[in-house]
């Protein structure tokens, strides 16, 4: 599975939706994922890719990690995975 598909699978599981319901421009709010759900998703992503996501729940907008929508999250993770190698 591609990074894209793996991230979508994690987000879909958190949102209790089918992966096909998670589109690139979906926001977390659209998907019904609250702040606790976001923190749990980031944990699952870190575990899946063995990366550290620079996200601070106190100041989500100030973090060096864009969570505007699903495509932004995927792009951020692809970058972190690339930097790891």
């Amino acid at each position: 599975m591609s990074i894209n598909d793996r991230v979508i699978a994690i987000i879909a599981e958190q949102a209790v939706l089918e992966p096909s319901d998670v589109t690139p421009d979906s926001t977390l709010e659209d998907l019904g994922i609250d702040s606790l759900g976001l923190v749990e998703s980031i944990f699952a992503i870190e575990e899946e890719f063995d990366i550290s996501v620079p996200f601070n729940a106190n100041e989500p907008t100030a973090s060096d990690f864009d969570i505007t929508n699903v495509s932004a999250i995927i792009a951020g993770i692809e970058k972190l995975v690339a930097e790891k190698v």
């Binding site: 606790l36 759900g37 923190v39 749990e40 980031i42 944990f43 870190e46 575990e47």
Partner: protein, 402 residues
């Protein structure tokens, strides 16, 4: 002062997953203590306990709930649902705004600590699930009960080791008696039966390797249990007005501190708590028909407790019955007083006194009627429930037949 009655009871413990199942086991003198089953149990020297069997959290709770509920919270929610369903009380409007939940636990989410310490120390992982803190905190169970049942009044958790539940129920009793709350959900829970939880207790060398035999001359220590007991304490007029079935009345309580030793019990501290509960309830010692003992099965507790009973009750000590149901369900630590309150309710309501099982040899230092091995039918008007904690913190409740 308002009268306080119990209108609902719920439990899960090694004897049963409900109040009827638990009371049936107590009537039959069944033992819920058996070989422990969990990871690394072979590295323990104590391998028995009153473990809850056949409890599947999956299916009962959804995925999100599972990630937030430690086993002690799962037990609490299960028992709270049974109690509130039985009571028939609906928490809405003013009743919801003023009613709360006070629960006891000594360890809170012990297996959550255990699992995650194992993960970072033994498995070398560097991150843990984000919900570790909200899952392990001691007030998690009380908070989830408040959310699940819309309890918006005073809610908190009491932690006084083996007296946690009794202290919690004493607080709930006070709130209803004073008129601060029309009803309170109260009791306690514990789930320490995991590798770290039992290993810690092993260190004290007060644990039995084979059985919990309170008051028996050959007793050789305590046995841990797990589970929860939860009750609805309700103001009498409030309960009466809605036609609720009243299980019994809570008529008094007292707390005392030994101010002496961190683990050794004190006859004076225990006596003052029992005598105080009688005074608070405006009862004579001779009114008491049954005492649910703290009765841990350790050499020190049982003889001290019997001496305290002899002091407080004088000649009547030989007339009353005193039993320790820990012989059946094990010591639920912070949840123990709550499960043991069920034996008091059974004595008052059903006229059946739960036995002290595993009783093999009389001990001259415990020369009371400990209801050995078989339950007994008897009319009981007043019962006391004792809890004497490590740290010398004692709490005794007095209950009355309605």
């Amino acid at each position: 002062m308002k009268r306080v009655v119990i209108t609902g009871a719920g439990t899960i413990n090694s004897l049963g997953h409900s109040v009827p199942d638990t009371l049936e086991a107590m009537r039959e003198g069944r033992c819920g203590i058996s070989d422990l089953e969990f990871r690394d149990v072979d590295r323990l020297s104590i391998k028995i306990g009153g473990q809850v069997r056949g409890f599947e959290a999956e299916g009962r709770f959804n995925r999100q709930q599972m990630s937030l509920y430690d086993r002690f919270t799962q037990f609490t929610l299960t028992a709270a649902k049974e109690a509130i369903d039985q009571s028939g009380i609906v928490f809405s409007g003013e009743t919801a705004a003023r009613s709360g939940v006070v629960l006891g636990t000594a360890g809170g989410g012990v297996s959550t600590w255990d699992d995650n310490y194992r993960s970072v120390y033994e498995d070398g992982k560097n991150r843990v699930h984000p919900f570790v803190v909200p899952k392990l905190m001691n007030n998690a169970a009380a908070s989830h009960v408040s959310m699940e049942h819309n309890l918006k009044g005073p809610s908190f958790t009491v932690s006084t080791a083996c007296a946690s539940s009794n202290h919690a129920m004493a607080q709930a009793f006070q709130m209803v008696r004073s008129g601060a709350a029309p009803a309170m959900v109260t009791g306690g829970s514990e789930s320490m039966l995991c590798f770290g939880g039992v290993k810690a207790w092993e260190g004290l060398r007060v644990m039995s390797k084979d059985a919990c035999r309170p008051f028996s001359a050959n007793r050789n220590g305590m046995v841990q249990g797990e589970g929860a007991g939860v009750f609805v304490f309700e103001e009498y007029e409030h309960a009466h007005a809605r036609g609720a079935d009243i299980l019994c009345e809570v008529v008094g309580f007292a707390m005392s501190s030994d101010a002496a030793d961190i683990v050794m019990p004190s006859k004076q501290g225990a006596s003052r708590a029992m005598a105080g509960a009688l005074r608070d309830a405006q009862l004579n010692a001779s009114d008491v028909g049954y005492i649910n003992a703290h009765g841990t099965g350790t050499a020190a507790n049982d003889k001290t407790e019997c001496a305290a009973v002899a002091d407080v009750f004088g000649p009547h000590a030989d007339e009353l019955m005193i039993s320790s149901t820990k012989s059946m369900h094990g010591h639920l630590i912070g949840g123990t007083g709550a499960v043991e309150l069920l034996a008091c309710i059974m004595a008052l309501r059903d006229g059946v006194v739960a036995p002290t099982i595993g009783y093999e040899e009389p001990d001259p230092e415990c020369a009371l009627d400990v209801v050995p091995n078989e339950a007994r039918e008897a009319k009981v008007d007043v019962a006391l429930s004792n809890a004497f904690a490590f740290g010398g913190l004692n709490a005794v409740l007095a209950l009355k037949r309605v």
